[in-house]
Symmetry: C2
Subunit: 461 residues, 2 copies
């Protein structure tokens, strides 16, 4: 059995390695159009900030190391132009030799991932305008910052990438401005109230957040960015622009093979990571996955999910018995920047209401440790709860310490449909003065949610 | 309805307040033989270490504040000598006036707690020998350290109290030696391997841990401790001894009312916190509670459980409908001392095997953050897993950061009988380079446990 895996960033290498493990007799070939495989993209801001010194720390394995340790053949600088599953072959172009040829395969795994969304404005191709999706981008940004006389960097998009890159710029001693139409960061992840502590820390760090969009990018006489114009007619001088406005699945190859694309724009797969085409599986950032709680198909382009889907796709493509399956993703995200941790798990209030839940959200403030202990910090917790059942649907935590790791507890709670009453009455969380208060913030929030839904019930009568 | 609550440390005040909330027409009286109510005992080491400046921070409410805000009458310095539930009365001695009288009550809540276990050796009553259970103890220890020429403190018992008090002594610049028959700390909570990092940190801090018992305490000419003799014939000079060798439920009053005492030595209660005597409920550190997983009755004298049991006892004693119940305790403990966090949840391997589980334990080392990030620290994880089902029965974490809060995730996992396979395949824990590695240590440990039980299955064939 010959298995082709297309895409070498994260899910592709994971899938190739897993396919070999699942079926040591299969011949597995991994294709990647770039020069690297097995890259950890989440570390990019820390590499750009000079907190991780070497670009090589981002590359988990060289192609040679990968072949040697994982047992799959690796073809870097090879672009797969088409897959023809019914004919059992693919067409591949070598970017080294410029040659094109066909290769026979029995099974195909699409791990083509996603690319950074572009602004779609004039001047976007100017020197000094970057997206930060892969290792090459990271190296390019860093080279630019080190070789050009950069003083001010405009960051477009106040999501995770924007916040982390803004911090990286401050770490390098550069001025930074975040542009986001909402006028704040982490919209769609944290409520206005919950984002407050992060916004304060960003302002304290001297980073401006402006409720504007980029309408065009202007260059100096040498094709380098000189300033941007915004939709409010403002002109902002800058020597670099970093665009972090989300991703779009790469689906050209899938479409060429008439693989079905879902409503999200991602490749549609079943719970075994099979696409609509026989002999074609898919995994990684380019696919859509069902969300916990409501089963809604979403894009969730994060590394841990890429690993999970690649494992299922690879084992099933390799013919492992019994078949592996993927139940759902429990969306979980976290950031630490400007001395503040923020994390969110499950559904936001808007998510829940869009999916038809009679839900409400509560927000509380408590402490990271016993409040009288040295080092105790404010901890903000928000829960999204279904009114009738009291079931926890989502939540977020923000604070100087103890926010992100506490958010982990929400993963099993949400996944198992735990009600806030059970959290209050039966969840014996850790208590120790320098680590957590006697009633943990997670239980204080559950009490607040119980009171809120009881009040809603009474006023509904 | 008149409700008497006996015991004012933590569960008693909580029960009294809850009884008033549940039944505002009830007359609730709280009896306490000491001078304080509503004391947080877990903060004592930090008070003794001068990290929490005022003794008053330990007293959550004064008796007057308690009466005013909680609506229950408070009788401090009143010792209840007997309760006679069938006669609907109790006998109480005022320690202020020395008078004794009877008072009529309809219902009784025993919140008499526990006292520190004593060594039972000669010289135990010498000046400078302390247990640390209550606020008075804490003040006495601190006064002694501040007024006597103390240089070296012997701490008897390497449990949580021993470790925290040893750190408090180092914080005060005093020499400290821990005596524990096992020759190490946190025996019964952490395995030898898991205790390693804490032992290293303790040694680095200059605290000796000796595998010895105290056989007698010798005094100077003024009745003050001068040295101890150990069971190995050693003589250790010291100017203070702190004894932390566990607790024993206070059950004299319960026995006087012919309330049944369980095998553990704690007051036996049903899931509504009713004792064997009609009209008598009990809560707090003096009762035994069923453990999660195996239902075994255990003593679990920790504040969060005292709060839970007091709420159930109070609401049921006050006649709340429907009746409240208590399912089980998920044992969870944590400590931070000498720069190391340690936490344990659920059953130890010994607990599990004693309860008849075919269980095994695994231990792994991973990282608190992405390993290449600044500040990443080693994180040690141990799981206890049932072989057949793969169900997680218990676990512990030790490391410089991120151990205790990660342990919280084990609470719902163990409570809901989650198998390690589900942890590996479906638990989408937080990933962000400065906060957690792409595969969290909790999932790495679950993978190791899966491999271990698969191996056991194969070798069993």
């Amino acid at each position: 059995m010959r298995i082709a895996v297309i895409g070498g960033t994260a899910s592709g290498p994971a899938a190739a390695a897993e396919a070999v493990r699942a079926n040591p007799e299969a011949e597995v070939v991994l294709y990647e159009q770039g020069s690297h495989v097995s890259v950890g993209a989440c570390e990019i801001p820390y590499f750009v900030a000079d907190q991780i010194p070497e670009a090589s720390t981002l590359e988990i394995l060289t192609p040679e190391q990968f072949e040697e340790t994982r047992g799959a053949a690796v073809r870097v600088r090879h672009r797969v132009e088409a897959i023809e599953p019914e004919k059992g072959r693919l067409v591949v172009e070598s970017l080294v030799h410029g040659s094109r040829h066909e290769e026979p395969f029995d099974r195909f795994i699409l791990a083509t991932g996603a690319h950074a969304r572009r602004l779609g404005v004039d001047g976007e191709d100017a020197g000094g305008v970057f997206t930060v999706r892969g290792l090459e981008d990271a190296v390019a940004v860093k080279n630019w910052l080190e070789s050009e006389p950069v003083q001010h960097v405009v960051i477009v998009g106040g999501g995770f990438v924007g916040v982390e890159m803004a911090e990286a710029m401050r770490h390098r001693g550069l001025r930074a401005t975040i542009l986001d139409p909402s006028g704040r960061v982490l919209r769609g992840v944290l409520s206005d109230g919950m984002a407050g502590p992060m916004m304060e820390a960003i302002h304290t760090a001297g980073v401006a957040v402006r409720a504007e969009r980029v309408s065009r990018i202007e260059t100096d006489g040498h094709g380098r960015v000189a300033f941007i114009r915004t939709d409010k007619g403002e002109k902002i001088g800058c020597q670099a622009v970093i665009v972090g406005i989300g991703i779009e699945p790469r689906t050209e190859l899938a479409k060429s093979a008439r693989v079905k694309i879902g409503m999200t724009g991602g490749i549609a797969v079943d719970d075994q990571m099979r696409t609509s085409q026989r002999h074609v599986w898919a995994c990684g950032d380019g696919i859509e996955v069902p969300r916990v709680v409501d089963g809604k198909k979403i894009l969730w382009p994060l590394s841990p999910i890429a690993r999970r889907t690649s494992r299922v796709a690879a084992r099933n493509a390799a013919g492992a018995k019994p078949a592996d399956s993927f139940a759902s993703v429990t969306p979980s995200v976290a950031v630490r920047a400007f001395g503040i941790e923020g994390a969110a798990v499950g559904l936001t209030l808007e998510d829940a209401q869009t999916s038809g839940f009679d839900a409400e959200a509560i927000e509380i403030k408590h402490w990271s440790r016993v409040s009288t202990m040295p080092g105790a910090k404010r901890l903000h917790v928000s829960y999204v709860v279904e009114r009738g059942s009291g079931r926890l649907l989502g939540g977020s935590l923000v604070g100087e310490e103890g926010a992100a790791l506490r958010a982990n507890v929400l993963v099993p709670w949400i996944r198992h449909g735990v009600a806030v009453r059970e959290i209050v009455e039966e969840m014996d969380l850790i208590y120790n003065p320098p680590l957590a208060p006697a009633i943990d913030a997670l239980r204080v929030a559950a009490s607040a949610a119980m009171r809120a839904i009881n009040k809603s019930k009474k006023s509904a009568r």
